[in-house]
Structure formats: structure tokens, C-alpha cells
Symmetry: C2
Subunit: 516 residues, 2 copies
């Protein structure tokens, strides 16, 4: 066994991987290359590290320790540490198998997921795995194994209850505040729904970003348990809880490549981790969303249902109209206002009310068989859902008496007006997202878009189509610049039949929706 | 346009990519994520950088500059620099096209190669590209474009001559000292052969490692020109010359994944860069090499020939017997000794002489039509090739009168003896490589293996099968340990017909040969 004793040099540097820096000569001596792994022994602590090579910054005889390593090992400056080249993780073999088109068994997938979470795999290896899944696809068993091990390698929420309800939208339509409204409806029906959500990646707002306008969402597992035990529902950010942490690592690979082969295990591992037994998957469908046709939506729903069966989660799918934003507000505060007001008054934009009661109704149907939608509408109109919302807000540490107008929007604002008269024929979700992102969402909670006109609405020349809000003037200007260069809202004669001239002049580059 | 002014913090850190470290909050403010790109403006210098995020090490308002960036921009500590998020490089779109199975045109490939060389692509993107080539394959035009742009993005050797000869082995067989012997033969024939070679990646020695025992090989482009003008041949390390630098970047991705989709452009870009017009591709063939059958060798040779036509390089292929090492020595000095001695005395191991004169003969045939092999043998036996070798050694700065025994081997040595009598039925190249690497090759030039028995040789119980040499005792022990656990040399009865029992017990894991 080759071993080398080197002097620790403590670096302040951070990395999400356990990196050590070796001098070029020392690395050659023990025959390790960049990205190879070494085992480090510091006193009685052992840790597996990834090697980077330095020619000048680290001298021969030294080893540079990144923050994560120096903290974990408690290494002191100049302390002698043992460095031993390690065999590459077994999972690399399985990744190569998948690259070669083989089907992986449960133990191979377990190893890959474990090594992913333990940060034993390099970006090259992770990318090779994710792209192999994209090219070769997965069997149902592979998807189930991935979901299971992605859940098992993270924390799990054990509420000691059997009947846990959950909903999930695969995303793709802006302004979709359904989750933060379905949860109080289901909670008001006395069912348990511990909803974890993500923050926006490519969209103007995620459920966690929206609900954060009303109450803290960064709860840890104990706090979530306490909230759910008290009010049988919550709306928290999943990222603070470390459920299925492999998913975050995979997303970092998928995002720059605009591929999404892990959609199913990503969603279902998190549902498994919270112990969900009944699940509705919302699949926004149509041009400008992720799923273009109801046929595609059906096929995707079938996959979720089959996978659900393997994981012990009763699942139904809902293909919902996604060709324009839901409601009027787009952006964290604008959406939170609209959701809060609809729950408070028991009425609001028709599409919101219909979507919320439909999804909630499908969840209630698991228990009641049929008539769930009516029950959901009753809970919304009667103010019971609002009361549950207040309980959730309070339990999570927010002000239960917060009013829509208490949520700051703007202060910068500009109105975008129509230059023609006619009827709104279409709304381009992608353009809406681009403008909203430019205005500052999701980081600036008060930024975003308020849509005055939606599909089918009559427009007179000079009418305001939408407002853009921003917290910062330069962001408003940037958003306006985009709004002027793309057509976000299409106004024309009611029976304009030409949808697209081919070849079409691309207004702006296609972008990729990763939100799940 | 979002822009941020940040205080430069000069880090001593090195990386092969232009990395800057931003504080998490600042990154959110200008909406960049890890691996996104920013443009940095420092005084009048502009540079494109890749973003890493730090939470503590870099404070809000600061930007950490890696060595490469701080040197290039001449930034001073605390100097205010402008940071602007940049659009991702266009080539990412083309990479996604290739991932989707599309064929790339010449300009798309040019952009990808340029962005690769300029370090504008992340490891994730590079891996996605390399794996896409592996999965989807390439058209002849794509391979030609890749070869051409990989050559054009590096330096080129312009000798002002039309008839440049070259040879290349795709590797895979240990102890192959053919190149360092073919070059003096061709040089002795009065032809121009500016041979650049690689160092070992996964093998015990590359041609550059071998020839370095006789003369310096780290010549720059001007020095190479001077040498070739003087003695019309050279044997140098390609890595010092920056020919087709994209190749080194691709190899770093291919290596950990054990895939080799860029074999053809890798080889041919370098031949193009030295202006080769006549080329022989040696394809070692057989069990234990990269190419298992002559049928596969033919197919690969055809590809090289077709590609050569597109690039203006007349190419022929040679499928050569590769089921055992060439000659007896394996390891830089052991191989250099054998090559030097064979050239000096005009005779040596039969397989070496036959292979060298065959390959050299095929090159001579380009000029003379047939009878090349006889001419090559004549040049070898007459001592003319040795004289040319001495000229090359001297021109490159070595001692032309160096003798085989002047090259130090060992000093540690152990003999591995046969425990049975019989005939050598097979030699396991992979085992030989593993033992030689463990003994210290290619770094320790005196380390390696001397094979006493080869296929067909009669062995008595107790006869030495091979010696292991090492520079360090612990490496010798490690090599011996491996030699005792694997069967490198198979001794049996002459007509033992059983090759393998299935399922076979794997002696040691399969490994991947990347040498080109």
C-alpha cells in the first residue's frame, strides 16, 4: 500500500465536495490524478477526499484541506496526515453499466445514490449517470429503486399516522398558487397534509417563495412535526429538511443540460420521505408548458400511478389547462396576495377556484369517493379553509391576521398597454416568465407581473394588458425592455386562424423549465 | 444590464478553469448560479469567468480571483472590478443538439472546440458532449470537422515541406517501442518525420517516456523546427507543444468514464497539426488489446483512411499481433535499452525487428511502391538507422554515444519463476501492465518488467518467467504482490485446449486502455 505523510495546510476554501489539494510531484509519487480519490487519516478520523492538483500554491510535502475537510477532521496547521490512494467507488462500475445500456438492480442503484449523497462521485461521473438515464431510459423497477433510495439516503418525516395526503404539480405554468390553497382546504377537511415545496429554479416563484410572504417556511423536521401535529397541515420549504438530498445534486447536473430524466424519482422520493399514502399529481398541459398534449399527460400520469403502486402511494393524475398563467398575479407577493384574498373571501378568479377545488376534490375523493369537489368548494366558501390557513400561518410563526394589502409589492411599476384592439388569443408563458424573472423574481418578493387581460378577454387599444412590478428601478427597466421585444399577450381578431408562420422568427431563445 | 462592483480578493489558488468566487448573496443579486459565467472588467482587461459560490470565505462585496485570473487581469487586492453576468456560450446549444441526436455542421463543431479550448465549458457540459458522441456516434463529416478544428485551435508545425511522413499506434500492447525505432529508419531514408508522442496515461510507458531516457523530449515548436531542419526527424513529447489542446481536455473526461469516442479526431488532429501527408496507423490486434479481431481492425483502419482522405492525409492501416508485449522490456528505461541496442547492433528480438521494418516499410512504400520492408531492413542492418538515431539524440540535446547499459534500471529487482514445466500458451497484457505500473512506471524510469519467456517458449519448473525492476523497495513489493495474485504468463502443456472456464473467476478488474 502506498502511503504518504503530508503537512496539513488549512485553506479557508469551501466546496460542496471534499477536496484536498496535492502538489503535482506528490500526486505523481502516489500515482493519483486530478479527481482521483484519496483516503485521509487525521488522528483517528478517516475521510475520503477528491484530489485536485496544484503546482505552486501547495508545495511538495504539503496537503491543502478545504474547509469541509479541515472542520470534519479537526486538522491543525502543519499536522502530519496520512494520505492513501483509494480505489474508485464501486458505483462507477454501475454507472458504466448504465452507460452501456444495462438495467441496474436495486443494490447497484442503492450504491449510486449513496455515493452521490456522500459526494464520492465527480461531476463527470454524475453527468455520465444522468445523461445515461436520459439516453437509455429506466425500467419501472429502476425508477422505483431510485425513488426509494433517494428517500432512504435523506431524512424522513415520521408522523406516526397512516393516512398522509399530498399533492404535487410538475410545474411549467406561471402564477400557479394552487398548492398553497389546496393545503388549507384539505387541512380544513381534517386530513393530514404535510406539504413540502421547492423554491423557484427557473420560474418566477415556487410554493415556498409564495408562502414565505405569509409565514416562515424554513422549518426543520422537528418543527414540521410539531406544526402538523397541531394543525394537521403545513406549507414548508423542502430544501431545509434534507429530504431526498440526492435530488438537489442531480438537479445541478440536469439544469445546465436542459434535461429532466429524473422527474419521476425526484417527485416520488420526496413523497415517500414524508410518508404520503394518497397523492394527486397535477400535470399542467398545453403549448408553453412542459407537457404539450393530453395524450402526453396521460402517459406521464400512468407512469406516476404505476410507480406509486410500487412505492405504496395511491396516485391519481390531473391534466390541467396550462396555456396561460393561473389567476392574475405572477411573483411571490403578487401570488400570495391573490391566494390569501381568495381564501379570505371564499371567492376569486374563476380559474383559481376551479383548479383548487378540482385538485382538492380529487384528494378528498380518496376518502369520500366522489363529491370531493363540492366538498372542497364548500370548505373554501364557508371560510373553513381560510381558518385553516390562519392556523397554519400561526403554527409556522407568521401573523394569522395578515391581509393581502399588507404584502408589499413594487414599489417600481410600469403598465404595458395594447397597441391594438381585439381579443386575447394566447398568452406566452415563456415570455411572461422571462419578464417576471427580469423584474427580480423570485429573489425580490415584491416583483412580478399582474395580468389584467387573459385569454378570451376583449381589449381596446390603449388598455393595460399587464403591470410589471419591481423592487429596483434597473430591474424594472430590464423587464420592460424584454416586454417590448417579445409578444407576451397576443391580441387579435377573434377568428384569426394563423397560429404561426413557418419558418417562424424566434422572438427569444427557448428555455427549459425544471421546476417539479 | 445588471452589473456589480466588487472588491478583488486575490487568491493563491490554481485551477485549470478561470474561476471566480462570489458571495452567495451577491450571486443571487445578479442572478448567477454556480458554474454560470460572468464577465469581469478590471481596468481595460476583460475576461470571461466561471462562478463558484462561497458563503463565508468570500464576504458580500468581495470577489475571489483564482491565480489565472488575477495574473491575467493584473488585479490588485481590493481593486474595484465590474462583474456582469454573461450569456452562456453558444456552443451549449450545439451540445444539446448533439445530445438530441442531431448532426452538427462545421461551424457548430468549430464553436464547441473553440469554447472547449477557451475553457468556457463546464465539466458537466463537456461530459454531456463526450457522452453524446459516445451514444450517437459521428458522421464522417463531423469527425473531419472535429479533427480540423482541434488542429486549428492549437499550434501547428510548419516545416515548409510538402512530404511529411508520420506513424501512429493506437496502443494497447505493452513494451511497444516501434515508434522510436521507425523514426530513425525513415529519417535514414532521407524522408521527413517529425514525430510527436504522448506520455503514458494508463500504460507503463509512452514513446515520450521511453525516448526521454536517451534525449530531452520537452522541445518547443521552434526547437522542433530546428531539429527537423537539421536531421529531418525528431522524437518529441506532443504535450509540450500545445498541438490540438482540446484533446487533452476531452481525455480528462473520457478517462474516468472508460470511453474513447474521440479516438479518430484525437489522432488525426495531431497529424494534421504537424502537416502529415503520409501516415501509417498501427492497430495492435488481439485478446488483451483494444481491438480484438482483425475484422474490427479492418473497420477501424477504414475509418482512418476515409478520414485521412478528407483531411488530405494518405493513410494506410496495419493490424499487428498484439497478444503479448513487443520484445522483452516493459518500462521506459528497459524499453529504451532494447530499442537502442537493436538499432546499434542492427539486430534484436525477432518480433521487434519484424514490426519495425513492416511499419517503416509501409511508410517507404508511399514513396518507393513496394519493397519498402526490404529497404527498411537494409537501413536497420547497415547501421544507417542507428546513425540517424544518434543525430536525432544529439540534435535534441542528448548524448549520441549513449550505450544501453548507461541507462539505469532497478536497483530493486525480483525474479518471478514458474512453478510448473510446459510451454507458454498466453501472456496477459493487462496483468503485465498492472505489475509494471505498480513497480513505478512510467514515473520511475528504471522500473518495469523484463520478460524472459514469451508465447511458444519452453519453460522448466523454476525457470524465471520475468524480472520485476523498481526504484523503490515498497513499489517492488507492491508489484510482486500483484504478480503473485494474477497469472501474467500462462504455462501449460502444448496442446492444452481449454482457454477459459465459464463463468470465469475474474483475477482482477478489467481496466481501460486510453493510450492513443
Amino acid at each position: 500500500m502506498v502511503m504518504m505523510k503530508l503537512n496539513a495546510k488549512i485553506l479557508g476554501l469551501e466546496a460542496d465536495k471534499p477536496i484536498v489539494l496535492l502538489n503535482k510531484e506528490d500526486a505523481e509519487e502516489i500515482d493519483v490524478r486530478p479527481l482521483d480519490r484519496v483516503e485521509l487519516i487525521v488522528g483517528r478520523k478517516k475521510v475520503n477526499c477528491i484530489v485536485n492538483i496544484a503546482e505552486h500554491f501547495i508545495k511538495s510535502g504539503e496537503i491543502g484541506l478545504y474547509r469541509k475537510i479541515s472542520r470534519y477532521t479537526n486538522a491543525k496547521p502543519n499536522q502530519l496526515v496520512d494520505v492513501i490512494p483509494s480505489a474508485p467507488p464501486m458505483s462507477i462500475k454501475y454507472i458504466k453499466d448504465k452507460m452501456a445500456g444495462k438495467t441496474l438492480d436495486d443494490s447497484a442503484i442503492r450504491k449510486i445514490v449513496e455515493d452521490t449523497v456522500e459526494r464520492r462521485l465527480s461531476e463527470i461521473e454524475l453527468t455520465a449517470f444522468v445523461t445515461a438515464l436520459e439516453y437509455h431510459g429506466m425500467t419501472t423497477s429502476e425508477v422505483a429503486s431510485l425513488s426509494r433510495h433517494m428517500a432512504l439516503t435523506g431524512k424522513t418525516l415520521d408522523l406516526g399516522k397512516k393516512d398522509i395526503y399530498d399533492k404535487h404539480s410538475i410545474g411549467g405554468v406561471p402564477g400557479d398558487k394552487t398548492s398553497m390553497m389546496v393545503v388549507p382546504v384539505i387541512g380544513a377537511a381534517g386530513l393530514t397534509i404535510p406539504k413540502t415545496s421547492s423554491r423557484a429554479i427557473t420560474s418566477p416563484a415556487g410554493t415556498a417563495d409564495r408562502f414565505e410572504c405569509l409565514a416562515p417556511v424554513d422549518l426543520n423536521l422537528e418543527e414540521i412535526k410539531r406544526v402538523v401535529k397541531k394543525v394537521n397541515a403545513c406549507l414548508v420549504w423542502g430544501g431545509a429538511v434534507d429530504l431526498a438530498p440526492a435530488d438537489d445534486i442531480f438537479i445541478k447536473i440536469e439544469y445546465p443540460l436542459s434535461i429532466d430524466p429524473l422527474l419521476l424519482p425526484s417527485v416520488m422520493s420526496k413523497k415517500k420521505a414524508v410518508g404520503a399514502k394518497y397523492l394527486v399529481i397535477d400535470i399542467p398541459t398545453g403549448e408553453g408548458t412542459k407537457v404539450k398534449t393530453t395524450k402526453d399527460a396521460e402517459a406521464l400520469a400512468e407512469k406516476f400511478i404505476t410507480l406509486g403502486k410500487k412505492l405504496g402511494i395511491q396516485t391519481v393524475g390531473a391534466s390541467t389547462f396550462g396555456e396561460q398563467p393561473i389567476g392574475h398575479g405572477i411573483g411571490p407577493a403578487l401570488e400570495a396576495r391573490e391566494a390569501l384574498s381568495t381564501l379570505m373571501y371564499g371567492r376569486g378568479p374563476e380559474d383559481i377556484v376551479d383548479k383548487v377545488t378540482t385538485i382538492a376534490g380529487m384528494l378528498l375523493d380518496f376518502k369520500m369517493k366522489k363529491s370531493g369537489k363540492e366538498e372542497a368548494l364548500r370548505l373554501l366558501k364557508s371560510g373553513k379553509a381560510y381558518k385553516k390557513l390562519q392556523e397554519i400561518i400561526e403554527a409556522q410563526g407568521g401573523d394569522p391576521n395578515i391581509k393581502p394589502d399588507d404584502l408589499p409589492i413594487g414599489p417600481e411599476k410600469v403598465e404595458v398597454k395594447s397597441s391594438v384592439s381585439g381579443v386575447v388569443g394566447w398568452i406566452d408563458n415563456r415570455a411572461i416568465v422571462e419578464i417576471a424573472r427580469a423584474s427580480g423574481t423570485p429573489k425580490d418578493k415584491g416583483a412580478g407581473i399582474y395580468l389584467h387581460k387573459k385569454i378570451g378577454d376583449t381589449v381596446k387599444k390603449g388598455d393595460t394588458l399587464f403591470d410589471i412590478y419591481a423592487e429596483k428601478k434597473y430591474k424594472l427597466e430590464r423587464a420592460l425592455e424584454i416586454a417590448q421585444s417579445v409578444r407576451a399577450v397576443g391580441v387579435g381578431k377573434k377568428y384569426d386562424m394563423l397560429l404561426e408562420k413557418i419558418p417562424r422568427v424566434m422572438d427569444h431563445p427557448k428555455y427549459f423549465i425544471l421546476e417539479r
